[in-house]
C-alpha cells in the first residue's frame, strides 16, 4: 500500500503500463488516487496516439517491388543455400539465440497451450500404437465422421488432406477435452507411420505455430479461431512442421 500522496516511479509505472492486463488494471487503480500519475498516463496515451498517427500509415503505402521481389525469389528458389549464405545463417543463428531464450521466457511459454500439446501427445501415445482399434469411425465413412465430430465439438471441422505428403486419413475418434470434447484424427503413410491431429475448442490466446517434444513423439500446435490444434507424430521435426502447416491450412481454409 502506497502512502497517500506518494507515487510510483515513471519506470515502475511504465513497466505496469506495458505489462500484463493485470498490471495495467493495477496501474489504473493506482492512478485514481494519484493525480500526477493520472496526468502521466494521459500524456503517454497522447504520445502513443501521435506516434501511431505519424508512422502507422506507412504500413498502408504500396510495398516497393524490390521488397516483395526478395520474397518472391525465395518462393521459387529451391536451390540449397550457398556456403556464404550458410555462414551468414550461422552468424544470425548465434545472434538470435539470446533473443530466442529471452523471448521464450517472455512469451512462448503458453501454459494452457503446452497442456494442449501434452494431452495431444498422450492421446497419440495411447491410440497410434493400436493395431486393431486405432479409430472409432474409419475414413471409409468420412462424411459420417466429419458430421459426428463437428456436432460434438460444436464447430465444423474438416480433416485436412495430407495425401500429398503420403499420409492418408484412416479415421477418427472422440476424446474428453477441457471445454468441449476433442477430436483425434489419425493418418497413416505407406510405411505404417502414424500421425494424429488433435482438435478441440479453445477460445482466445491465439498463438504462433509452436513445438513440443516428449520421448518418442513430437508435436506442433497452435491456437486460432477458437480451435486448439496439435499435430503429433514420431517424425523428423522439419517433416512434422511441414505437415502441420498443411494441416493448418486444410483445417482453416474452405
Amino acid at each position: 500500500m502506497m502512502p497517500e500522496g506518494s507515487r510510483i516511479s515513471a519506470e515502475e509505472a511504465l513497466r505496469l503500463r506495458h505489462g500484463s492486463a493485470g498490471d495495467q488494471a493495477r496501474l489504473h487503480t493506482l492512478a485514481t488516487g494519484d493525480a500526477a500519475l493520472a496526468e502521466d498516463l494521459a500524456e503517454w496515451d497522447r504520445q502513443d496516439a501521435a506516434l501511431r498517427a505519424l508512422y502507422a500509415p506507412v504500413a498502408d503505402e504500396p510495398v516497393p517491388a524490390r521488397l516483395t521481389a526478395a520474397v518472391a525469389a525465395a518462393r521459387t528458389d529451391k536451390r540449397a543455400p550457398s556456403a556464404a549464405a550458410w555462414r551468414i545463417a550461422a552468424a544470425l543463428a548465434l545472434l538470435a539465440l539470446g533473443f530466442l531464450a529471452g523471448w521464450s521466457g517472455a512469451r512462448m511459454l503458453h501454459p494452457a497451450g503446452s497442456a494442449l500439446a501434452q494431452t495431444a501427445m498422450a492421446s497419440f501415445a495411447t491410440y497410434a500404437v493400436e493395431v486393431a482399434h486405432p479409430v472409432e469411425v474409419g475414413a471409409e465413412d468420412e462424411a459420417h465422421l466429419v458430421k459426428w465430430l463437428s456436432k460434438r465439438l460444436g464447430t465444423p471441422i474438416r480433416p485436412p488432406d495430407l495425401s500429398q505428403d503420403g499420409f492418408r486419413l484412416i479415421g477418427g475418434r472422440l476424446l474428453p477435452g477441457e471445454t468441449s470434447p476433442a477430436a483425434l484424427l489419425m493418418y497413416e503413410d505407406e510405411m505404417g507411420r502414424r500421425l494424429a491431429l488433435y482438435v478441440t475448442r479453445r477460445e482466445g490466446g491465439e498463438t504462433e505455430l509452436a513445438f513440443a517434444e516428449e520421448p518418442g513423439r513430437r508435436a506442433f500446435w497452435w491456437i486460432e479461431d477458437g480451435l486448439g490444434c496439435a499435430l503429433v507424430g514420431d517424425l523428423p521435426r522439419d517433416t512434422l512442421r511441414h505437415l502441420a502447416i498443411s494441416a493448418y491450412h486444410g483445417l482453416t481454409e474452405t
Binding site: 519506470e11 504500413a59 516497393p64 520474397v71 525465395a74 543463428a93 533473443f99 529471452g102 512462448m108 502447416i245
Partner: protein
C-alpha cells in the same frame, strides 16, 4: 502460417517501424530489404516455433546499429536534446504541426530510446518483449522508455493537448 507468407505479411509493419527508426524513406526500405534477405537466407534453419515478427525487428535493429557504426562512427549514442523547448508561442495548436513536432522530437532521441519507444508504442510489444528484441534487461528498457517519454513531453510541451482539442478544425 508458412514462413514465406509470414515474412511477406510482416513487410508493411516492418516498413513503418524502419521509417520511424531511420527517419528516411530510402534508408528505411534499405533496412527492410537487408532484413528480409537475412531472414530468407536463414529460413532453412527457422524452427517454426518462434515469433517471426519480433525476430525480424531484432534483425532490423541490429542492421540499423551496424549501419550507424559504419556511417558515423563518432557521437552515435549522444544525440543532443535541448534543455529548453522552443517557446510555446512559436508553435501552433494545429494538429499536423503537433505531429511534426513529435516527429522532430523523436529525431532528437538517442537511437536506443527511440527504438524502445517505437517497440511498445508502434509495434505494441510488452515491455518484456521489447527488452527481448533489443537484447537488454527489462530495467534498462524501462529506463530508456522513461527517458524517451520525458524528453518527448518536454520538447513537445502541451501542444498535443491542443491537438486533441483542436481536432474538429481538421
Amino acid at each position: 502460417m508458412p514462413y514465406l507468407d509470414e515474412i511477406e505479411a510482416a513487410i508493411p509493419g516492418l516498413r513503418a517501424f524502419a521509417r520511424a527508426l531511420a527517419r528516411d524513406r530510402e534508408a528505411a526500405d534499405d533496412l527492410v530489404q537487408d532484413t528480409l534477405e537475412a531472414a530468407l537466407a536463414r529460413r532453412a534453419q527457422w524452427r517454426g516455433d518462434g515469433p517471426l515478427r519480433g525476430w525480424l525487428c531484432r534483425i532490423l535493429l541490429n542492421r540499423f546499429r551496424d549501419g550507424l557504426r559504419r556511417n558515423r562512427p563518432a557521437a552515435v549514442a549522444l544525440a543532443l536534446v535541448p534543455d529548453q523547448p522552443d517557446p510555446p508561442a512559436a508553435r501552433k495548436a494545429e494538429g499536423r504541426l503537433a505531429l511534426a513536432e513529435v516527429h522532430a522530437a523523436m529525431g532528437q532521441l538517442p537511437d536506443d530510446q527511440r527504438a524502445a519507444l517505437l517497440l511498445v508504442a508502434l509495434e505494441g510489444l510488452s515491455l518484456a518483449e521489447a527488452a527481448s528484441v533489443m537484447g537488454c534487461a527489462e530495467g534498462t528498457l524501462a529506463s530508456r522508455l522513461a527517458r524517451a517519454r520525458a524528453t518527448l513531453r518536454q520538447v513537445t510541451g502541451r501542444e498535443m493537448v491542443a491537438q486533441r482539442h483542436g481536432k474538429a478544425g481538421e
